[in-house]
């Protein structure tokens, strides 16, 4: 083994650099080679900054600045001036992005004006014209949000506000309807009362214009006589007043303008919390009020519909909500939102989070993780690689009834619809988000850091939506990740070599690439000077596919670039490789859940395939054995019988005695002929169709007459029961057509 390779192996195994030809990476300011093109993020068009659109509850509640610009350009940049407008507007977009990256905040309109002001210096009039046209095409406005530590909470709270606002509107509309209808019942009750029909009230209701035109005393006297006999029960009156009081005093939603004008409504509750403990205890504290309101709404609906019956409903509603309310009942009420940071979470808070997730309460939790590369407290140099959040997200999925969304903050805009789905889900939801904004490890911006975490499988994106269907295939979605069926995503990488020739290759982006950008793990890496590169240095993904046995002869390495974008090769020690392997195994588990390379399915497929092959083989052998005996077109060939025509089963006719009188009841057209003739002998059944109720209730003559007068000829008089009935001979002749 060459000396250099020996040194590399020693480093790989021990993490120590025994050779002077291995450099520490500290201070070299290296970054993964694939990041070479992302040094000036503000100049690159990407999803950020976002515009948190005001007053919008559909998926348009957030839009990317670049998306808005594209829409505006599609409308404004047309014709001969289109190219000029496009150029100016894209300049402005870059300026706004720079402002936002530098920390500027505010509404899109304000930043647009600032950026336009900056560009206008020294520019001609055409710029102003371009920007004016594009601005006119953008119909929305809202706060700008860049990809920073605060963004996940801002975005989720913005979406939550939009959802709650929509909920509040629907609830208020319903509440106003109930209050109006209940008040109408009381008003109607008053109008029917003696006071309501008094001369004084009648006069007031007519108004001043025609006040003298009526004799209200006489009118009152007359109306008093017509007072309804059925009195409005006092208990009902009291119940409706109580319902109105409960509906009017609710604090779950802001009162409508109309209600607020009439009475100083109580200040509505807040549903936003910084800790799970606080959210949980508040939810429990408010539960009795919630049950009281839900009960009032249910009773009010019955009252309005005139369906409330004290004898039936009093007992039923007495125990209303004794076992809490189910998710459907809780759905109209506001959801709670808790935003917590994983780093600040203590064990007690962790326990409360689990309690929320396992209890099915309508509490939505944002669990923000800023650092997924923190060192494990278990051992020197060990990585946790998102273990903390992974544990919580996995446990939440295991609970089956929690909506779980995991994503890097860079991907949240793409997950905007899934965020809304989680926020409208009837039950708890967990949003586990890696912000990439730890600020501890690298000089990389949060957007790049979080995107790298997702790309390297360190923090894969997925959703688990229990409302999407009954099985994993419909509930679990892993598709947002890049090249989901591979262990590591493969990206094309091109660079210029020493002879100024372009070299292109495909390189995998692994966990090691992601970790290599973190200064805390520099000791696991060593740069190999270019003149010492040799064939034993292989990419990490290739090293991971090799079986581990004996002394390694190939050492994993990653491609990195320095500040001047000069390509560097960095070898990796065994500890990082172990972490990468563990990360890959976890990714494999997720893949299985997402139906990619599912071991059960593959096993089943292999079994079925083998069974099919065996069957084919047996058939081929059987065919070979019998083929000579069967003459072509032999008459003995068995033709499968055609399936019998599906015929509806004939209706079973009741068995009758040969001389029995009967009616084909199902064909009776309710014409009243027979029942008018003899309503004891003929009667109607529950469908108002005739049958012979009592054959002895009339004479044979009446039976025959009914048969003759029946418009649809369905009465069959049978034979006479009384042989002594007069005129039988003639009656039998008349009955003949109906037998």
């Amino acid at each position: 083994m060459e000396a250099d390779t020996q040194a590399h192996v020693a480093f790989f195994l021990t993490g120590r650099r025994p050779s002077e030809h291995l450099d520490a990476v500290d201070g070299l300011d290296l970054r993964p080679a694939l990041f070479a093109g992302y040094r000036e993020l503000a100049r690159l068009r990407h999803d950020f900054p976002l515009v948190l659109v005001a007053d919008c509850a559909d998926k348009q509640f957030v839009q990317s600045l670049s998306g808005l610009t594209d829409s505006a350009l599609a409308f404004a940049a047309r014709g001969s001036e289109g190219e000029r407008i496009r150029k100016h507007v894209l300049q402005l977009e870059e300026e706004i992005r720079t402002l936002s990256t530098d920390g500027a905040t505010g509404m899109l309109s304000a930043l647009w004006a600032t950026a336009a002001g900056r560009l206008a210096k020294g520019a001609d009039k055409s710029l102003e014209d371009s920007l004016r046209r594009a601005r006119a095409a953008i119909k929305v406005d809202g706060e700008l949000a860049n990809c920073d530590a605060a963004m996940p909470a801002r975005l989720l709270r913005h979406a939550w506000n939009a959802v709650q606002k929509q909920k509040a509107e629907a609830f208020r509309k319903d509440l106003d309807r109930l209050v109006l209808k209940l008040s109408d019942i009381l008003k109607a009750d008053f109008e029917r009362s003696a006071a309501g029909r008094s001369a004084k009230h009648l006069k007031e209701s007519v108004g001043t214009g025609y006040g003298d035109a009526f004799d209200f005393d006489a009118l009152s006297h007359l109306l008093a006589k017509a007072l309804p006999k059925d009195e409005f029960p006092e208990s009902r009156r009291r119940r409706i007043r109580e319902l109105l009081a409960v509906l009017g005093a609710q604090q779950f939603f802001p009162a409508s303008d109309a209600a607020a004008k009439k009475a100083a409504a109580a200040k509505p509750y807040s549903f936003f919390f910084d800790t799970c403990a606080e959210a949980l205890s508040t939810f429990r504290k408010r539960m009795p009020k919630l049950i009281e309101l839900a009960k009032a709404i249910a009773i009010a609906e019955l009252e309005i519909d005139g369906q409330y019956s004290e004898s039936k409903h009093d007992a039923l509603f007495e125990q209303f909500g004794a076992n809490g309310l189910d998710p459907q009942d809780l759905a109209p009420f506001p959801d709670y939102l808790v935003c917590i940071n994983a780093e600040k979470m203590q064990a007690v808070e962790h326990a409360h989070l689990m309690e929320i997730l396992s209890s099915g309460l309508p509490i939505k939790v944002l669990l923000q993780i800023d650092d997924i590369l923190e060192e494990s407290p278990n051992g020197e140099g060990n990585l946790t690689a998102g273990m903390r959040s992974r544990q919580i997200a996995n446990m939440a999925i295991g609970l089956n009834e929690v909506y779980v969304l995991q994503s890097s903050s860079s991907n949240l805009f793409q997950f905007r619809e899934r965020m809304l789905r989680g926020l409208t889900y009837r039950g708890p939801a967990l949003f586990s988000v890696f912000s990439g904004a730890s600020g501890k490890a690298s000089g990389l911006p949060p957007y790049l850091m979080s995107a790298a975490a997702m790309e390297s499988r360190a923090f894969p994106a997925f959703t688990y939506d229990p409302s999407a269907g009954p099985n994993w295939a419909s509930r679990f979605n892993l598709e947002a990740n890049s090249q989901v069926d591979l262990d590591w995503p493969i990206q094309g990488f091109a660079y210029e070599d020493e002879q100024h020739q372009t070299v292109s290759e495909d390189i995998a982006f692994t966990l090691v690439d992601f970790v290599a950008s973190d200064h805390r793990y520099a000791r696991h890496l060593a740069r190999v000077p270019r003149d010492r590169w040799n064939g034993s240095m292989i990419p990490v993904d290739e090293a991971l596919t090799r079986e581990r046995k004996g002394l390694p002869d190939k050492i994993p390495s990653v491609l990195m670039v320095d500040v001047n974008n000069v390509l560097q090769k960095v070898i990796v020690d065994a500890r990082l490789i172990r972490e990468a392997r563990r990360c890959r195994e976890m990714w494999h588990s997720l893949q299985e859940l997402g139906g990619v390379h599912n071991s059960h399915a593959e096993k089943l497929l292999a079994r079925e395939k083998k069974a099919w092959e065996d069957r084919m083989q047996q058939e081929a052998e059987a065919h070979a054995a019998t083929a000579p005996a069967a003459a072509p077109g032999a008459a003995t060939a068995v033709v499968p019988a055609a399936p019998a025509a599906a015929s509806a089963p004939a209706e079973q006719e009741p068995e009758r005695a040969p001389n029995e009188a009967y009616i084909e009841t199902a064909r009776c057209s309710t014409c009243n002929e027979c029942t008018t003739l003899n309503n004891k002998m003929f009667a109607y059944d529950r469908n108002q169709q005739a049958y012979i109720a009592d054959i002895n209730a009339g004479t044979y003559a009446q039976l025959v007459e009914a048969a003759e007068s029946c418009q649809v000829s369905i009465i069959h008089p049978g034979k006479p029961r009384n042989p002594k009935e007069p005129g039988l001979e003639e009656l039998l002749k008349r009955a003949e057509p109906f037998l």
């Binding site: 509309k173 057209s669 309710t670």
Partner: protein, 328 residues
């Protein structure tokens, strides 16, 4: 399947079950043998089977024998004036979309004096179930020719026989824009009559059901050719329409496969004169209902009603101050 919440279950658990008697009110004064009895029986059966609450159900009628229908239903009713059943029913539905509204109208009421309302009601396609009781004669006023009387019908107004071909209510209805449900039933096949009444009730939109019914008093033999010869009745069956029992099919063998979504074929079948087609001729559940198109989210408060009325009345008010200013 949407699961019901515990509260929804609670709200429904005390709902009443109704019997036929809950919908019956008084003894019908129709003549013995009158087809209206069969229609009444079918409709009462529908109300019971669907559990329609009497206080949430309205029957609206115009004038004629058939228009006595609301009197015999123990529900809300509106016995209107000549030909105006449909606009009254539309008003009821507009103001109270929560009510189930049926319309009973006769061949004179609907096809003569109420013809304009009929056409526009079809076009408005409000969620109403309309039964055209067609006995082809003015019965209540003792035998005058109606628009659907067959040519040659001798009556008090046409003693030498009527001169015009009868109007076909099916083809007229099928020719109106926005038509969404047209069916034909006959009173002497109660099983099919009930099935059609039920399908009409379940259709969202205006369901127009023409029911050929006998008038034993004034036109006793008019429908005999079809009643006495089952082959002259053509049952329309289809998996998307009606399907008939084996017992019925044994008697009525003349059956035609007809998809109710096929308008051209429906018009062709409706034009038949020799055979009486029975079944659903046309059904299109996608035609929008007028009450949905004009639905307002605004809560109808006393203030809103008052403001609306004042705005209307102000149009006709002379403001003395403004008049003075104008004159000046």
């Amino acid at each position: 399947m949407n699961m019901m919440s515990a509260t929804e279950c609670l709200l429904q658990m005390c709902e009443e079950n109704f019997e036929l008697e809950d919908y019956q009110s008084g003894v019908p004064r129709w003549c013995t043998g009158c087809g209206d009895n069969a229609i009444l029986a079918a409709v009462q059966r529908l109300c019971r089977d669907e559990g329609l609450r009497p206080e949430k159900t309205v029957f609206v009628s115009g004038i004629g024998c058939s228009s006595r229908f609301p009197h015999y239903m123990n529900t809300y009713g509106f016995h209107g004036i000549h030909g105006r059943a449909l606009p009254v029913a539309e008003g009821v539905k507009m103001a109270r979309p929560d009510l189930t509204v049926f319309v009973n109208t006769g061949d004179g009421d609907c096809c003569s004096i109420g013809a304009a309302h009929w056409i526009h009601a079809i076009r408005y396609n409000m969620n109403l179930t309309v039964f055209l009781h067609d006995n082809q004669i003015y019965g209540l006023t003792k035998k005058q020719a109606s628009p659907t009387s067959p040519i040659g019908t001798k009556s008090n107004t046409t003693p030498r026989g009527s001169y015009l071909e009868a109007l076909n209510p099916l083809t007229v209805t099928l020719g109106v824009q926005n038509v969404s449900f047209v069916a034909q039933a006959v009173d002497w096949i109660p099983e099919v009559l009930f099935d059609i009444v039920k399908a009409a009730y379940h259709h969202k939109g205006l369901s127009f059901v023409r029911i050929l019914q006998r008038c034993p008093e004034w036109l006793p033999k008019s429908l005999d050719p079809w009643m006495n010869d089952p082959n002259k009745v053509q049952l329309l069956n289809h998996e998307n329409g009606l399907q008939f029992s084996a017992g019925l099919s044994k008697v009525y063998k003349n059956q035609l496969q007809h998809d109710p979504s096929n308008m051209d074929r429906a018009r062709e079948i409706a034009s038949s004169t020799d055979l009486v087609p029975v079944g659903i001729l046309y059904r299109n559940p996608d035609v929008p209902c007028y009450e949905d198109l004009r639905h307002s989210d605004k809560l109808r408060t006393a203030e809103l009603t008052s403001a609306g009325l004042n705005a209307e009345l102000d149009k006709y008010t002379v403001w003395p101050q403004e008049m003075k200013e104008k004159v000046a």
